[in-house]
């Protein structure tokens, strides 16, 4: 079957505005969802589900959050990990302090608290932008981690700072195995990704993009600057907060400040850059790339070791990984500033014409 829209006529506005206007795209997406929801949990082993796919989905959600702020609304943030930490700790506290709290409610509370923190630290964005704003969000990163470390209430006065997350229960059924956690993460991520996709096609999303492209022009055509910028911070932080809660509850199993360092903020930023700035699909591609890349590198060094009969030290591998990461960032910025999502788009355009050259 050829991949093109010729012959697929739209007779209603709803059809015209659907997310995937081409039939083949809809089929592919449905197939992807079926694979992700049914096939993967059935055939995936525990290592793949709990060590690769779950963190990939969680980080994709965080990347999505940052992409809404940086990619769509054009406000650079280096405080992603702090928002995630707020989400994780507030979800933990909601579970701890509110009796009979459903886990999803705790996640939402975590997200909302992160959104509130995001709005507070987004306030400087009304006066400053670019580099200065990056420093302001950096302040958020350090301040939040300090507060969580120092104020005993957040960690329930735990002496070690590492607390194990509560058991996850949904409607009385415990979610314990890697399959269950994977499915829970996947469902939340899928719903939120759909919401983000639709939000970015709505008036709000277009207001974000107008501000990103030129803020003066945006305010001239009547987009309320303050409301829109703060909304961008709130939505982005909400996504990051939920991602942080999932990171703690479904992936790590512990809630600890050390999981949410500046390093994580940078990693999420890299996912945005490599995946594609201002693209929902790109968030997933970038997260997949950065999650899978170290594993690929590991396998490569293993096979290199056996092939050459030498031993490569662990330190060398991790340093090489840093170099290759950094190199890739620079490479992508120079060669393809729009990231993997743009490559995918080019492929699709080529596919539409295939087998003809023009």
């Amino acid at each position: 079957m050829l991949y093109r829209e010729a012959g697929q006529f739209k007779s209603t506005y709803a059809e015209d505005q659907q997310i995937f206007p081409i039939l083949q795209d809809r089929v592919a997406m449905a197939a992807l969802l079926v694979v992700a929801f049914v096939v993967v949990p059935l055939i995936g082993n525990q290592y793949w589900l709990s060590a690769i796919l779950t963190p990939f989905l969680v980080l994709a959600l965080a990347t999505l959050g940052l992409n809404i702020l940086t990619g769509y609304a054009g406000q650079l943030s280096l405080g992603t990990a702090a928002f995630m930490a707020v989400g994780a700790f507030m979800a933990y506290n909601a579970m701890l302090r509110i009796p009979h709290m459903p886990i999803l409610g705790a996640f939402i509370i975590g997200g909302l608290c992160a959104a509130a923190v995001g709005v507070v630290f987004g306030l400087p964005s009304l006066r400053i932008k670019g580099l200065y704003l990056a420093v302001a969000t950096l302040a958020c990163q350090f301040f939040v981690l300090w507060a969580i470390n120092r104020i005993g209430w957040f960690s329930n006065h735990s002496s070690s700072g590492v607390i194990s997350a509560q058991r996850i229960e949904i409607l009385g059924f415990p979610v314990e195995h890697s399959q269950g956690k994977y499915l829970l993460t996947l469902s939340i991520v899928a719903v939120m990704a759909l919401a983000a996709k639709n939000l970015m096609r709505s008036e709000t999303g277009r207001a974000f993009m107008a501000i990103r492209d030129m803020d003066v022009a945006a305010s001239v055509i009547g987009i309320p600057m303050m409301k829109t910028k703060l909304l961008a911070f709130a939505i982005s932080s909400f996504y990051c907060g939920v991602a942080g809660a999932l990171y703690a509850f479904c992936y790590l199993g512990t809630v600890e400040p050390e999981a949410f360092t500046l390093d994580l903020s940078f990693r999420v930023l890299f996912m945005v850059i490599i995946g594609g700035v201002g693209s929902i699909l790109g968030s997933f591609l970038g997260a997949a790339f950065i999650t899978l890349f170290p594993i690929f590198l590991n396998i490569a060094t293993k096979s290199l070791e056996t092939a050459l009969g030498i031993e490569i030290s662990h330190a060398l591998v991790s340093n090489a990984e840093a170099i290759i990461f950094g190199g890739l960032i620079i490479f992508f910025l120079i060669v393809e500033p729009n990231g993997l999502a743009r490559l995918w788009q080019i492929t699709k355009e080529k596919l539409r014409l295939w087998p003809f050259p023009h």
């Binding site: 400087p124 580099l131 420093v135 120092r150 990984e321 950094g326 190199g327 960032i329 500033p337």
Partner: protein, 297 residues
């Protein structure tokens, strides 16, 4: 009162150390408009190279010269491979490119020289000056004073370079307007290579100073993050601003830690500088000495 003066002086002298790092940022930003996030890893790279050469039994001055040459070459290489292809990109893209560069440099320096921390000795003891502590009971480290002296010399050298020499005039021209500088025949790419080389030199000085103070280790890269509030306070384009900003940040941070810290559980040094900078931004977004940009939204 003595205690207050001691804390203040300690803070000011610590601020000088921040200024040393901030200077590297300012030089590059002035001439190319690039916010070089990798300055911290340049500092780390310089210090690690220097200390590793020393530990291999090299003469102090020889090691210094070789490290300097390495830094200059590195600066030129960075200009070639990273910045030249990114000319005319928005500042955010350039910032992200230098974040990538940070990772490359950190990995590279640890592959070359290993990742264990090193101690560094220059022969200047990090002990309180005797007559000050005897007479007024104020403890001020000898080494801190030396660092302040070095910073002063560095600023003087940079000021002469920027104000009095042919290269300095070209640098200022490029900083003012790339296109106009090109039009009057200033070779932009040479100038940028020079700028990065100078930044490498400043990184070396900062790296050696910080290395003596805290040892040469990976944590050195975080000093770069401390330089950010300094820059915001002083303005991104001003060498004087980097010094004054450093002093303010250093002093306020130490005073806050000593006088406010006990009330909130201590450790506020990690974020206090940022909050000072943030509050400052709300009042004066261009910094103390920065160029005024009229940019209302």
């Amino acid at each position: 009162m003595n205690f207050f003066i001691e804390v203040l002086a300690g803070g000011l002298l610590a601020g000088v150390m921040y200024s040393l790092v901030a200077l590297g940022f300012v030089i590059i930003f002035k001439a190319s408009g690039v916010f070089n996030f990798a300055q911290g890893s340049l500092v780390f790279f310089a210090a690690l190279t220097f200390v590793s050469l020393l530990e291999r039994g090299w003469n102090l001055w020889l090691a210094l010269a070789v490290t300097l040459i390495a830094m200059v070459l590195l600066g030129i290489l960075i200009e070639r491979t990273v910045l030249r292809p990114l000319v005319n990109q928005p500042p955010i893209t350039l910032l992200m490119a230098t974040i990538g560069l940070t990772f490359v440099l950190e990995g590279l320096s640890q592959i070359l020289w290993g990742s264990q921390p090193h101690g560094l000795e220059l022969g200047i003891p990090d002990v309180p000056i005797e007559w000050l502590s005897e007479k007024w009971n104020i403890n001020i480290s000898q080494f801190d004073l030396f660092a302040a002296f070095v910073a002063g010399v560095l600023v003087a050298v940079l000021a002469v370079l920027f104000q009095k020499t042919r290269i300095g005039r070209a640098l200022r021209a490029v900083a003012d307007d790339h296109q106009a500088a090109l039009a009057v025949g200033i070779p932009l790419q040479h100038i940028w290579a020079i700028v990065w080389a100078v930044a490498g030199f400043v990184a070396l000085v900062a790296g050696v100073m910080w290395g003596v103070r805290n040892g040469v280790q990976y944590a050195l890269t975080f000093t770069a993050l401390k330089a950010l509030p300094v820059l915001i306070l002083g303005g991104f384009e001003s060498i004087a601003g980097a010094i004054v900003g450093g002093l303010i940040i250093g002093a306020s941070e130490k005073l806050a830690e000593v006088y406010l810290g006990p009330y909130v559980g201590g450790g506020i040094e990690s974020w206090f500088a940022y909050v000072v900078a943030l509050l400052f931004l709300l009042v004066r977004p261009e910094g103390l000495f920065g160029e005024k940009i009229i940019d209302r939204v």
